[in-house]
Symmetry: C2
Subunit: 479 residues, 2 copies
């Protein structure tokens, strides 16, 4: 029967081939499966459970801030999509089009939503009449589709799961506040729940969302020093409202167009978790979103009383509010250790006859491998503390990676050398000219990630053209 | 400013025109909005919040029984759909087809999932190799699309939200157990959470799901005496497994095909709630899924201290675990009463200066309109009891409607007369012949709803053809 036992599979060394390591983790930790449509993936139970935990925390926070969930249709008539010109130009090349319903050709083709601004606008046009109807703070959890040429698990799916907030406000000021409020929700979530440090900032005009006046972003650095955009929040002004005829009667009895925002995060975040915390043993999940926080492994489970005692311990931890499972399978303990490390479980509890006798168990940290024997009295507190420690440690490591690989530069050549030598992020002064962004890309291979809120003074001239500059930009290579 | 105040809108009398009453409730209680694509609706905050509560209760129960959530792609290649012949024949006429990705014509057209058996089978083919991989107990929350000619809010959408469970088992017996276990989960949920009584039974071969060996159903009777299928659970045998090459190595070291089930409920349930409990004042929500269970209306809120006291009362009820809101808007109390009745809030709390003085509040039941002054001491218990009473009363009323309108009949003519006179359900003996089902439809206008598990002996001959019969069937007109 030995050949029938599932083996813990080997993964590529992350320092040898980070791309292959990443795909290995996605498949061998059983996060995803491929489907027969290119770029469309199956989210397996572990992958989906991480998303459920992300949803739960964010959804609670959205609701606490007064947002309500709705659900819009998944299909957009071509004529509806076309009302806002910048928006349609950006998305039309990526649309999947429905042209047949049953046996009949449709009179107008319908696009599967790549994002839902247009649908929200159509609905807002129906339900916003008076200043009493504002603000509208709506959010939607759904899947969207973008017909991209290349694909990669979590990072670039043709179909992906996300949330998209769409809000309408009486004043520009209020809409701008909402835009930044939600950016901060994302930043706090990434740092406090995913242990991913972020740089908050504004996108340059070149990099902003199609149809937005301003786009804000939380940018993260992965283990391989490349950038991942963790979430974005857009301020639209009243451009869509005008294009879609949304107007309300103000307290002054005059008609006004409301001001709009949208903001979203997606299953990309799971890619971010993998690439920020993972290692050569596989996935390494931040405790606050880990579907299983504690895995109990009975040692010598064939011996009388061991399995029963391990089950009791499991129940005890479950009753204390931890997400805990026991692995009672007939694999050897060593196999189980490797398997749950691959799946990123933050804490392993080893519990065998000697432990039972000594009224203790052994806690093993996924992040450092450190083992500690812990008395059963006060176990709950020890596990709770350990999960917090692991979170802090994951965050600290990621922050060190970000800080050590973000380099101030004063000219283009220095950025090029820095990128060639070390990679990571460069920060430079920038004059604001798009031509300089393009030049930076051409020479140093990097694009602007954002204009960070925390500005530094690195000189008075643009690193590219030498003209006067008062804005600092972060540059990098992005997923 | 009077004309700017939103009026509580009138709805059609339900006994005059039930169809219009239904649409009125859907739109005026702000459950749905129409979109520019026929048959595709916007679920507004109240409609979606009911769905979220349905999801929460069911999802917990699914997980308690060992199911895991996954997410499959929304697009199915035509060739994948075609592998199981009965299945594709049933669904192909209702498929919406994607034929273009960006500017390019696709090599193979892709159907937006009308249901996901084929996608689950493709994945199961990848991940089921050994008896150790069984059972697989997966569920998916998603939207599906069926290109129907007619549409009606919640009852018949081209796109609707649902859950679809798909499980694989080593033996037929275990799969059959799962099929019935999940049917019972639905029955308990409808009765205990939605206050909708059900008839559990098996569908005739004519009415079963495309590709299933057996389909089980929970059938409900609406206020207008028509039937609504509340949820279905299917046993597939190993037909799909064979068509999709899913096989596992058993303990006997031989290859076997596993046995499959699927089961689902959808946003149709919201239609069922409306049509079971609603009345001429609008929506009437069963307390256990009502997004707002208690609405607090401050009376004479301009008087000093009233609003503050009402907010305290609201917080107190919220802290006790009720879903509670306060209406502080500047509408008159009478307007507010009608508004929250329209939206189906089970309990209204009226709280004004006299109440504050007497340390009491007034509780008003949505279902009966009954008003009771209740001392603030022990308010939590009173509200809790009242919500349970309302649930029981809603259930009792619906059960009486079902019982009073289900009539035993012995021949076709009697069914015809019964339907003409009273409508509702007829129960008769049936020989098992599909020709008799067709005849029943032709003469009496009814179809078989199910062969109920609770059989009765109403004679020994088929009500249609007079041949020997030992099976009792429930007949009715279905949504």
């Amino acid at each position: 029967m030995a050949n029938e036992k599932k083996q813990v599979e080997q993964i590529t060394d992350m320092d040898e081939d980070f791309g292959r390591w990443y795909t290995d983790v996605c498949t061998k930790a059983e996060l995803i499966d491929y489907s027969s449509v290119k770029g469309m993936f199956v989210l397996r139970p572990l992958g989906y459970a991480i998303w459920e935990n992300i949803q739960k925390i964010l959804d609670e926070e959205f609701k606490r801030l007064g947002h309500e969930n709705v659900y819009m249709p998944m299909l957009i008539p071509e004529s509806l999509l076309q009302k806002e010109k910048d928006h349609v130009e950006g998305f039309a090349p990526e649309c999947a089009w429905v042209t047949m319903g049953g046996d009949e050709e449709l009179e107008e083709r319908l696009c599967i939503r790549p994002t839902s601004e247009t649908l929200f606008c159509e609905h807002y046009q129906h339900v916003i009449q008076s200043h009493r109807d504002l603000p509208k703070l709506y959010n939607q959890w759904c899947s969207v589709l973008r017909w991209e040429k290349t694909s990669r698990p979590f990072l670039r799916h043709r179909e992906f799961l996300w949330q998209e907030g769409h809000t309408m406000h009486a004043t520009a000021e209020e809409a701008r506040e909402e835009t930044l409020r939600m950016l901060n929700v994302y930043a706090d979530f990434l740092e406090n729940s995913l242990a991913i440090p972020v740089i908050k900032g504004r996108k340059t005009d070149k990099e902003k969302f199609n149809g937005a006046e301003e786009t804000y972003t939380v940018e993260c650095m992965m283990y391989d020093k490349k950038a991942l955009q963790g979430g974005t929040s857009h301020y639209f002004g009243d451009g869509f409202a005008k294009a879609y005829d949304i107007a309300y009667t103000g307290k002054d009895n005059q008609l006004h167009n409301p001001f709009q925002t949208s903001w979203g995060v997606s299953t990309r975040l799971i890619g971010g978790i993998i690439m920020t915390h993972g290692d050569n043993r596989g996935l390494n999940l931040p405790p606050r979103i880990a579907p299983v926080q504690v895995i109990v492994i009975p040692v010598a489970q064939h011996k009388p009383g061991v399995l029963e005692a391990a089950r009791e311990l499991t129940d005890r931890l479950r009753n204390a509010g931890f997400r805990v499972r026991i692995d009672e399978s007939d694999h050897a303990p060593g196999w189980k250790f490797a398997e749950h490390e691959m799946k990123g479980v933050p804490v392993r509890v080893e519990y065998g006859p000697k432990d039972i006798e000594q009224n203790q168990c052994v806690l093993v940290r996924r992040d450092t491998g450190e083992k500690t024997a812990v008395p059963l009295d006060g176990l709950e507190e020890a596990v709770s503390r350990l999960l917090d420690d692991i979170h802090e440690n994951l965050y600290r490591r990621a922050k060190a990676n970000l800080d050590e690989n973000t380099c101030p530069c004063t000219d283009l050549e220095q950025v090029r050398e820095q990128m060639e030598k070390q990679g990571g992020f460069a920060k430079t002064m920038w004059c604001g000219d798009e031509a300089c962004e393009l030049k930076m890309k051409e020479v140093a291979g990097v694009t602007s990630r954002c204009i960070p809120f925390e500005q530094e003074h690195l000189g008075d001239t643009c690193a590219v053209c030498g003209r006067p500059a008062s804005t600092m930009v972060i540059w990098g290579v992005s997923y």
